[in-house]
């Protein structure tokens, strides 16, 4: 599918991951295009979230996880010796399934990333906080109460705040792990609109359980089943003419 090598943001080759004795990912190969939304779908436990977390090395936090193979972001192997995970995670941000704002003010949540990366200028910070909140489509709702605790926001607002917090670090890639699964339909549609806008500037990889969501927001879709990447293609092809029987069974709701 790689029409042009330069369009590829992330390339994965023969990726295998074990949790202790459990073989969680088998020989995954995938090319993720820049400034596109790539959806990862599949039944629970199929390895899609595990795969997502290999892209910013969040699996490093799990002692029993062992990883083989190659993951390149912009042509650079992120599992190579000497790779700085701090730098990697600045470039590859992440949004979690459960919104997880810090128990700090709205402003401090957004400022957290830039601050740990050394930004001290107040005016610059103010501007960045505003820009990030605008990009996450939550500025109008919170602009008058930036010093209020982030925990006082609604679930959907908290998730958009978490997106703003990730954007403030100015990443190139956004990994989203079922970002709307805990939200009501209105909050969900806001997040989906947001994803649609964000893909102009960011490469987005999103794990979702929701088939309609994958169809609505993504350009490419990868179907995972039992730790293997079964099929990967343009979203419309996956949803209209899947090549594999397993993919078809899954998207038509015959299992999962």
């Amino acid at each position: 599918m790689a029409e042009n090598e330069n369009d590829l943001k992330i390339t994965v080759r023969k990726l295998n991951l074990h949790y202790g004795p459990k073989h969680a990912l088998h020989d995954v190969n995938i090319d993720i295009r820049a400034n596109r939304v790539t959806a990862l779908i599949g039944p629970s436990g199929c390895g899609k979230s595990t795969f997502l977390r290999t892209l910013n090395r969040m699996n490093d936090l799990i002692d029993s996880a062992r990883i083989e193979g190659e993951v390149k972001v912009d042509g650079e192997d992120i599992y190579a010796d000497g790779m700085d995970t701090v730098d990697l995670r600045k470039r590859v941000g992440m949004i979690f399934q459960r919104s997880n704002p810090f128990p700090k003010s709205i402003y401090e949540n957004v400022a957290y990333g830039p601050r740990i990366h050394g930004m001290t200028n107040k005016a610059e910070m103010d501007a960045l906080v505003e820009k990030s909140l605008r990009q996450a489509a939550i500025w109008d709702e919170v602009k008058d109460e930036l010093n209020k605790s982030a925990l006082a926001l609604s679930g959907g607002q908290q998730q958009r705040l978490c997106i703003a917090r990730a954007l403030a670090v100015e990443p190139e890639v956004l990994l989203m792990d079922e970002p709307a699964s805990a939200l009501d339909p209105i909050a969900t549609s806001k997040i989906e609109e947001l994803i649609y806008e964000l893909k102009e500037r960011y490469t987005i990889v999103i794990v979702t359980h929701n088939m309609q969501q994958a169809a609505r927001v993504s350009n490419d879709t990868a179907f995972f089943y039992m730790g293997r990447l079964v099929e990967f293609d343009a979203t419309e092809k996956i949803f209209t003419k899947p090549k594999e029987k397993q993919t078809e069974d899954y998207i038509t709701g015959r299992f999962g």
């Binding site: 969040m58 701090v86 995670r89 979690f96 997880n100 957290y112 990333g113 740990i116 990366h117 670090v169």
Partner: protein, 301 residues
């Protein structure tokens, strides 16, 4: 719960109830005796004056100040060391790792060592070994550090109260949600930044609780300071690390065993005990209240 009806059943209920009532009775009895005996003597003069006339008159001011310095120095050493240990245990080695188990076993063992053994250890390690070494290196063997003083007593006490701090802080660190650590790391924070900006602020209540519990434990123990720094009678206050000091618990012990006039000492002794109890109770209750607040917050989160 089913109610037992037979005679045996009633006897069992009565007997278990009586046993349970024992602790209530003990607390009430102790408190009543001490308040009854001491309240008339507990005046501002008593708190602010120096003991006089062979401890048959005067107050307990030096013992209060000595106790205060003791627990402050002890906390300044014990709380950071305990907190850092708890951080190491829960953030760096993994809670279930071999290393964590070994350290936790050591901490539990430390908690089980009788206080008098800490006193002897303090005498051997701090007063004699450390003190002699310091004197040899800095004073050509002249006696400065190789004798009981408030620093050695505080360090001995810090060691005794270390398990209390470690356990409280570890418990508090556990209440910081893993989600928040991941959020921080995913933003490119290092582990240490995550600990400093997310884990520690989230554990502040636990660190405070640990400190208060340690202080309350330390203020109540006498055995560790017997040979390491407490003075029998010392009207002037300690103002150097090498000074000895008076302490409330030790003062009670001295008045009980060394009084020259039992009749005259008795009310002072009651009042001193009352001061000591009020101090430790206040500290314990504030620790319990703090911990309850933290628990509530955990449930709410």
């Amino acid at each position: 719960m089913t109610r037992s009806k037979g005679l045996v059943g009633r006897l069992v209920v009565g007997f278990t109830g009586a046993c349970a009532f024992l602790s209530v009775a003990a607390v009430v009895w102790i408190m009543a005796t001490i308040i009854w005996g001491g309240h008339t003597h507990l005046t501002w003069a008593f708190i602010s004056q120096v003991p006089s006339e062979g401890m048959t008159e005067g107050g307990v001011f030096p013992a209060i100040v000595g106790t205060f310095f003791l627990v402050v120095i002890m906390s300044l050493v014990g709380v950071p060391v305990g907190t850092i240990t708890a951080i190491y245990l829960s953030e760096y080695v993994g809670r279930q790792s071999k290393m964590a188990q070994v350290i936790r076993f050591a901490v539990n063992t430390l908690a089980g060592i009788p206080a008098i053994v800490f006193g002897l250890f303090g005498l051997g390690f701090f007063v004699q070994f450390s003190g002699n070494s310091l004197d040899k290196i800095f004073y050509h063997g002249a006696l400065h550090w190789a004798q009981p003083n408030i620093l050695w007593a505080s360090l001995t006490m810090a060691l005794l109260t270390l398990p209390v701090v470690i356990v409280s802080v570890e418990e508090a660190i556990k209440t910081v949600p893993q989600d928040l650590r991941e959020a921080s790391l995913a933003l490119g924070a290092t582990r240490w930044q995550t600990i400093r900006k997310v884990v520690l602020p989230g554990s502040m209540g636990g660190i405070l609780t640990g400190a208060i519990l340690a202080v309350s434990r330390g203020a109540g123990e006498v055995a560790p300071i017997l040979f390491t720094g407490a003075a029998y009678f010392l009207p002037q206050l300690p103002h150097r690390f090498t000074d000895q000091f008076m302490e409330l618990g030790y003062h009670v012990f001295i008045m009980t065993t060394q009084s020259t006039d039992v009749e005259k000492t008795l009310p002072i002794q009651y009042a001193t005990t009352l001061v000591l109890l009020l101090l430790t109770f206040t500290l314990n209750f504030s620790a319990i209240a703090l911990r309850a607040r933290i628990r509530r917050r955990r449930v709410a989160a």
